[in-house]
């Protein structure tokens, strides 16, 4: 049963584009352009947002929050800190904060009179319970900690008075405040945090302090949120703090991308999540808008496994770094909304440098590197050394829909320099098994809100993820990684981050492709005022619908 279902599903997505084209031509009527123009927010109205699916469930702390659930949580709950698309932090429920000189002690001052929708106060005690849940979780109840929270050196969170919280770490933790703006760190009522997993799974019982409350829901089908009239603590950075303009915000699950797009085009819904990049121009010419916000994190690219054949050879890594024509990827697969990578972290991260020279497309350099190392071109067009074919098996990241097309193009590019790329299709269910098989190249898409995260990922130090499978064999990388982790101020850390980026790119441990846009939003011209945060989540709190 399973295999036919999986086949049917991939068949369905594969032909979806064709069907979408058919539908697009069938209903190419232009929207009403007269309504465009007003820029004064209008109170009232309803907005329908089409989304692919709420499949990860509603236990906010059990797992990472997917972008789908994260978007809905973003309207039911608040965070302590707001992070904008440039990575700037600004007050939200925490109206100010201080940190000591070595960034080990933080004091958060909370806004007055913030309440959860069950009436309980968002006070220091409630915040302490939330921080403990994010930092530690509760394995006894099957609740994981929040993945990106700096737990390894977390010591304690204490309420010093009703509106002040003191948080201590055993070593410098510059990333702490930034983490509070991360989509996993949502403030929930203490009653919710104490309840069991099966109660937390019931969205109606999970209480937040956000600008909307849950009005009704049908699991996996539609979710209706309504405005909270007494809301007055929205992030100042959004330029508005009062109750939302919309009466209701409806999330509707429509799994098929072409149907989602056509539903907005036909005026039956207002905003839709994810369209195909190739459709964007046609949609814009019809008067609709498509937003392609970038998020803070790593670019779309490959983590290189330094222990697996053939990427255990420096010559092959260099050939990959310089043999991929990123400009061709941008012009073939994406539109002008996409940008070239300048390093292995997104350009929106404040510490991102421009090190594009380290991975510039240079076919000669790539082939020279292979020739020198003894990889000889044979009559079949591929290179061999000691009788071994230079081939790499690659699986597209199922979390980034356009990766498959990117990989197909890269396979052609690498063929030109004699490297054989075998493409493997792996769906979400099987992707972790693929990751565990330690493939030579692994597609990465990971968001973060603070560059300090990088330290805990690249090597195996401080319980890190050892992305390049180097263990702690690379002394220079270890040193740079430690320096980032232990940095006490941001200027010092930015300098180290520069060195780290150059080193990783020079060693070709990471092969960047393009800056990642993982969330696209198609919206009707009637919708105004949508804002996007640092994680590229659409925020409908300040949105309104023109009549």
């Amino acid at each position: 049963m399973t295999s036919t279902l999986v086949k049917r599903r991939s068949f369905l997505t594969g032909t979806g584009t064709l069907a979408a084209l058919a539908i697009l031509t069938a209903c190419g009527n232009k929207p009403d352009v007269e309504s465009v123009g007003s820029s004064t927010p209008v109170r009232g109205g309803a907005l329908t947002f089409l989304i692919q699916g709420f499949d990860a469930g509603w236990i906010s702390s059990k797992t990472s929050i997917s972008s789908y659930e994260g978007n809905l949580w973003g309207h039911l709950t608040d965070k302590l800190v707001y992070v904008n698309e440039k990575g700037d932090l600004s007050p939200w429920v925490a109206e100010s904060w201080e940190e000591n000189s070595d960034a080990t002690e933080f004091v958060l001052h909370l806004q007055k009179d913030v309440t959860f929708s069950d009436g309980s106060p968002v006070d220091a005690n409630a915040v302490v319970e939330n921080i403990n849940a994010w930092a530690v979780g509760d394995a006894e109840r099957g609740i994981a900690k929040v993945g990106l929270f700096p737990s390894a050196n977390f010591e304690s969170a204490k309420a010093t008075d009703t509106r002040t919280v003191k948080v201590n770490f055993s070593s410098p933790t510059l990333g702490f405040i930034a983490t509070l703006g991360y989509h996993g760190c949502i403030l929930l009522a203490p009653a919710t945090l104490k309840s069991n997993t099966d109660e937390q799974a019931d969205l109606a019982k999970t209480i937040g302090s956000g600008p909307f409350t849950l009005k009704s829901w049908q699991q996996g089908e539609s979710y209706v949120l309504q405005r909270r009239e007494d809301y007055s603590w929205g992030p100042k950075a959004l330029g508005y703090s009062g109750p939302a303009y919309l009466d209701t915000l409806t999330y509707k699950v429509v799994r098929d991308a072409s149907v989602r797009t056509s539903t907005v085009l036909s005026g039956q819904a207002d905003v839709s999540f994810n369209v195909e990049p190739q459709e964007i121009d046609s949609l814009i010419s019809q008067g609709f808008s498509v937003s392609t916000p970038r998020y803070l994190g790593f670019v779309d690219g490959f983590q290189v496994n330094t222990q697996t054949f053939p990427t255990n050879q420096a010559s092959v890594r260099q050939a990959l770094q310089h043999g991929i024509d990123r400009q061709e990827i941008l012009s073939t697969i994406y539109t002008q909304d996409w940008q070239a990578a300048t390093t292995f972290i997104q350009g929106t991260v404040p510490e991102a440098g421009d090190f594009a020279d380290y991975f510039a497309f240079d076919q000669q350099k790539a082939t020279d590197s292979l020739e020198k190392d003894g990889w000889k071109l044979e009559s079949d067009g591929y290179r061999y050394k000691d009788g071994k074919l230079l081939e790499i098996t690659l699986a597209a990241n199922p979390y980034v829909p356009s990766d498959k097309a990117v990989d197909e193009l890269i396979a052609q590019q690498l063929q030109r320099i004699g490297i054989k790329l075998n493409l493997k299709v792996v769906d979400v269910a099987n992707y972790s098994a693929w990751q565990n098989s330690e493939p030579p190249l692994l597609h990465t898409s990971r968001s973060f809100v603070d560059v300090g995260t990088v330290a805990g990922i690249l090597t195996n130090r401080n319980g890190g993820e050892d992305w390049f499978k180097l263990g702690d064999s690379d002394q220079k990388l270890n040193k740079l990684s430690d320096q980032i982790a232990q940095a006490r101020n941001r200027e010092e850390r930015a300098k180290v981050a520069d060195d780290l980026q150059k080193y990783v790119l020079d060693q070709a441990y990471f092969v960047p492709l393009v800056q990642l846009v993982q969330r696209l939003y198609l919206s009707s011209p009637k919708v105004r005022g949508i804002q996007y945060n640092g994680l590229a989540y659409a925020n409908f709190y300040t949105a309104w619908v023109t009549q």
Binding site: D55, G137, E140, Q268, N397, Q435
Partner: protein
Amino acid sequence: MSARLSGYRNLVLSRLGQGIVVIFLAYVLSFIVVSVLPGDAITNSLRDPQSGLSEEDIARIVAFYGLDKPVLIQLLLALGRFVSGDLGISLQSGLPVADLVFDALPSTAFLALTALILALVLAVAIVVGVHLLPPAAAGVLRSVPSFFLSVPNFVIGLILISIFGFTLHTFTITEPNSPVATFFAALTLAIPVSAPLAEVLVSSLDVETRQDYALVARSRGLSRVKVFARHLLKPSALPSVTMVALLIGELLGGAVITETIFGRNGVGTLVQRSVGAGDQPVLLAVVVLSAVIFVLVNLIADLSVPFLDPRTSVTKKKKDLVS
């Protein structure tokens, strides 16, 4: 009690017994298959590249859900719960599996039933046409079922949505449970299902038409319509009863795609979500549910055949002799 009646009772009992064995085997087999597949809902979501959890964190949560135990132990635990009527908790959503399944069931049952009725109407319409229309038109009509079979379900759905949803505004896709939207979803499902039904009806009708009794009836001066309605329809319907039972599986499979395209929440979308995530408890519940439905429908079909055709005797020859 007459021999015929007790024979019928024995048939019912033995079929019920077989049904229970089938359901049990379906459960055990699918448990093993699902366990062999890589990944489960918990591990998949924890290993999502966005989650950033360490191996230790992941191991602790996986242990909480008992997913680190050997498959055989997991199977025995699950069987124990299943026998006591507990379908467990969905690994993906954390909600009780029974709630998820019974929330999704009515929508799918209604869709499938409507589709079945539409498919029967379509099939009968084709058969009546083939039998009563002039030969040229009938020939065209005969090729309709193979055309229906060759167009994929989702293409039919997208065409119907495009024409009636987006162009004519007969229904809105954001209200998938409205009667009109349900009608078009059911039609999407009914068109491919009607094809084999129509083919079986047409061919058995062809056979019956050549039977002596039909020729006799015709020669007695009965009109084509009367022969068709009074003499041919009932015996020709016999193979299609079995066919309908088999098509239930087709309807459930087709529901996955139809529900996806029409944005309906049902057993089909539940299966799709659960397969994608490796949500074992939900998958098992759906497999068992499908087995139960399949067994029941076949039971009804088998038990109704003797009423449609008295020639198929339920009693054994020997018993007849004894009585």
